[in-house]
């Protein structure tokens, strides 16, 4: 790994901060390439250990689902993958989290650059109070793309990828907050795609949507996984079973040392295995509805 200089706010070129660029991010045919690799990852909020012992390897071009009962730390884990947890005072990680071979929590790594590479879609649709166009163009703009024509192309391509183009092409200058919840969430996906990320993290993207909008998002994910590696946190086990290739099951247990409930990764395997023939009893209990 070469030396890395931290980016300044004015530095909008993509190729400076992270030596990620030296790793080919182009979509490779072999789908087994490992994108994320964690080793004994723990996430803390100040003294509280929210989740422990996460050992995962996330493969390129696949959808990886994180499931488990509330409070098991699956969102926390997801948010540590693009350093969103940095925004929470007191949050820190222990153990190693490698993205294409690079330690994401290396002090030389710029979290801003990480988030450009690893986009995120949130639980509640959170479009900016701007026009539809400006929402999608936000990422490219802060990445330094100024030309109107180029932006228009990116916006159109992103909206088409997010299966939203036909619905909004005539009102790109309308406010995004006037759209329906499902449209807003697809807009947020388009916004994430517009920055041409390598990975998409989705934190319960359908929990605020009705079944029809949920179905559309799921179709979209199946479509997008050819180009992006996707990680999704979901409360909906059927959804995990439907869309994901691999599933990680988390649960929360009382930590005997700290007397607090700490999440942990119980089992991680191909989705079909997790749902048909889980190795761990706790996983079986959860997916069969005996607890959680």
């Amino acid at each position: 790994m070469s030396t890395v200089t931290p980016t300044t706010p004015t530095d909008t070129t993509k190729d400076v901060a992270l030596s990620i660029d030296e790793v080919p991010t182009a979509k490779r045919p072999e789908s087994a390439e490992i994108v994320f690799e964690t080793k004994d990852l723990s996430v803390y909020y100040s003294a509280f250990r929210a989740v422990r012992d996460v050992n995962l390897d996330v493969r390129q071009g696949q959808i990886t689902a994180l499931i488990g009962p509330s409070g098991c730390g699956k969102s926390t884990v997801l948010r540590s993958f693009n350093r969103m947890n940095d925004l929470i005072p007191g949050a820190r990680v222990e153990g190693s989290l490698r993205y294409r071979g690079i330690d994401l929590y290396d002090p030389k790594v710029d979290p801003v650059e990480v988030r450009r590479r690893i986009g995120m879609v949130f639980q509640k649709p959170n479009p900016f109070p701007k026009s539809i166009f400006d929402n999608v163009a936000y990422g490219p703009r802060i990445a330094g793309i100024k030309k109107k024509g180029e932006l228009t192309d990116i916006v159109e391509a992103s909206l088409q990828r997010a299966a939203l183009w036909d619905e909004v092409k005539d009102r790109l200058s309308a406010s995004a907050t006037g759209m329906s919840g499902g449209q807003q969430q697809r807009l947020c996906i388009a916004r994430a795609i517009a920055s041409s990320p390598d990975v998409l993290l989705m934190d319960e993207p359908c929990s605020a949507l009705d079944p029809i909008a949920t179905a559309r998002i799921e179709e979209l994910m199946a479509e997008l996984k050819h180009d992006y590696t996707i990680m999704i946190v979901t409360h909906n086990m059927q959804q995990a079973a439907r869309v994901s290739d691999r599933t990680a099951f988390f649960t929360a247990e009382l930590d005997s040392q700290t007397d607090q409930r700490t999440g942990l990764l119980v089992e991680y395997d191909a989705t079909t295995t997790i749902f048909s023939n889980p190795a761990d009893e706790r996983t079986e209990n959860y997916i069969t509805g005996r607890f959680g």
Partner: protein, 525 residues
């Protein structure tokens, strides 16, 4: 309330239950309500006495004769009976009879007034006084006849109260329109207006048009509006001679030692206040907003920033006179350190403009402007910080999520979203600065005679020179003239006119704040 929702039990129990829910006993809300109603009665009585007193003094045609006083006495009795009943003096057992009593008195007094007008053949003049209460009365009667359970006798007393206070208030308003400008008339107008509003709200609540909560909210709104209107009317009345006869001269005139001087006017005050506003905008706004953004977005949460937060909040509550002392000490008298700074600034300034910017040991416009900028700084910080805090976290996350830096998030999401709140707060702070007198008195603004400057735009030196010169401001002009009015009565109308000008400016600024806020809110929707 639908009876079907009440479930089983015999009829009397249901009635009991319903009455208890509607009645004025027991719950805190009911107690509050009772207090409000009693307050309305008291106001009506005060208004009544005011009319009576004023009528006795001016021998107004409307108030002459025996009938209006008689009617008013009845209204008083109605009010007193109501208060007594609310306070429980008449006792629970006599509730119905006292209700009937109040009710009867209301009708009799209203009827008497009508009869009098009919007898005089002067229906145009007085009939409107009684239309409103009669309508209320009629509606209440019909409703109570149709549904005696949900609308028990209890509410009739409220209607009687409504009649009493509305009638009284309208009489007062009528008298004010008819009579010459009577001293203190608008104070009674205020009371009458309040009585009308409370009575109307009482009626609306009991007729089920408004909920209890809406009534209280609306009452609060009405109260503040009426105070503003009364204030405006009062000062416009005071300043009318000046405003109507010599507004142009008054606008361009200067501070004079005699009120009869044709050149008496407010131009210096306007200029001073204008520059003070500029100082506030240039100094307090950027620093205050920047400090707020730092505190909310960048500063870590630890004991130091907590202390900082408390300090800023306390500073906002420090009396303005104290800031005046600070300004006097720092910018007028000066300390060794400030003198050193002033010397540096002046030598830099002189090298460019050949004049000093700040005069040591003198009460300058610079000192006044900076003092007021410091005075409103904590207010700007607090309001801006509140606005920044109100920005949804999801917006920040959305922007961070696509790789925005902290500053990009603040610039493109936080500040635009917080803009309406920041603007409102800062413009209110500006209004406050423009209206402050106490600190300027301490810093040494001129209240007496101030030699007019030749021209502030004749050259750069003249323009800059005024910052190092003595100054005055609108509130100071007003203070000076009000004080002089004791010796020279002509200053009274001048002060009134100056207040009107200042009020117009402040209201204009607040209107701009509202318009800008609406504009930005629409933009973010």
């Amino acid at each position: 309330m639908a009876l079907s929702t009440l479930g089983g039990g015999d009829i009397s129990a249901r009635v009991e239950q319903t009455i208890q829910r509607r009645g004025s006993d027991g719950t805190p809300l009911a107690t509050l309500w009772t207090t409000l109603a009693a307050g309305g009665a008291v106001l009506a009585i005060i208004a009544m006495f005011a009319t009576w007193y004023a009528a006795a003094r001016t021998a107004n045609a409307l108030a002459s004769g025996w009938l209006p006083p008689f009617a008013l006495v009845l209204i008083v009795i109605a009010g007193l009976a109501l208060v007594a009943k609310q306070l429980g003096v008449l006792g629970q057992g006599r509730r119905i009879s006292s209700d009937l009593f109040v009710y009867g008195v209301g009708i009799i007094s209203s009827g008497a007034l009508i009869l009098r007008q009919v007898a005089k053949g002067d229906l145009n003049n007085m009939v409107y006084v009684l239309v409103l209460p009669l309508v209320f009365l009629l509606v209440a009667l019909v409703r109570s006849l149709r549904n005696p359970i949900s609308k028990p006798m209890l509410e009739l007393e409220q209607v009687a109260l409504g009649i009493a206070s509305i009638g009284t208030a309208l009489i007062i308003v009528k008298r004010l329109i008819d009579s010459e400008h009577a001293a203190g008339g608008w104070v009674w107008g205020l009371l009458a207006g309040l009585a009308v509003i409370i009575a109307a709200l009482v009626a609306c609540q009991y007729l089920g048009i408004l909920s209890m909560f809406q009534v209280m909210l609306f009452g609060a709104l009405a109260l503040s509006t009426i105070i503003l209107i009364v204030l405006l009317v009062q000062v416009i009345g005071d300043g009318w001679p000046v405003l109507s006869e010599r507004l142009g001269d008054f606008w361009s005139g200067t501070l004079r030692s005699r009120s009869t001087d044709d050149r008496l006017g407010i131009s210096q005050g306007i200029i001073g206040s204008f520059w003070i506003a500029v100082f506030v905008v240039v100094i307090a706004f950027p620093i205050g907003i920047a400090a707020a953004v730092y505190l909310e977005e960048y500063a870590p949460r630890n004991w130091f920033t907590n202390v900082l937060d408390i300090v800023v909040r306390n500073l906002a509550g420090v009396p303005s006179v104290v800031y005046g002392l600070l300004g006097l000490f720092l910018f007028v008298k000066g300390t060794a350190i400030t003198h050193w700074f002033i010397d540096r600034i002046n030598s830099f300034w002189m090298s460019t403009f050949d004049s000093s910017l700040i005069e040591k040991g003198q009460s300058t416009l610079f000192a006044g402007g900076v003092t007021l900028a410091i005075l409103v700084l904590p207010i700007v910080i607090i309001t801006a910080a509140e606005a920044v805090r109100a920005v949804p976290q999801s917006l920040r996350e959305g922007a961070f999520g696509v790789g925005a830096t902290k500053w990009e998030v603040i610039r493109s999401q936080v500040l635009p979203f917080a803009a309406p709140g920041i603007l409102t707060g800062t413009l209110l702070a500006l209004s406050r600065a423009v209206g402050e007198a106490a600190p300027l008195i301490l810093v040494g603004a001129i209240t007496g005679r101030l030699a007019p400057r030749d021209s502030m735009f004749s050259g750069m030196e003249d323009f800059l020179g005024q910052f190092a010169d003595r100054f005055t401001a609108m509130p100071i002009v007003i203070v000076g003239w009000v004080r002089n009015a004791g010796i020279d009565e002509g200053f009274g109308p001048a002060a009134g006119a100056a207040i009107v000008v200042l009020l117009v400016f402040v209201i204009m600024m607040n209107s701009v704040a509202v318009l800008l806020r609406n504009y930005f809110e629409k933009k973010r929707a």
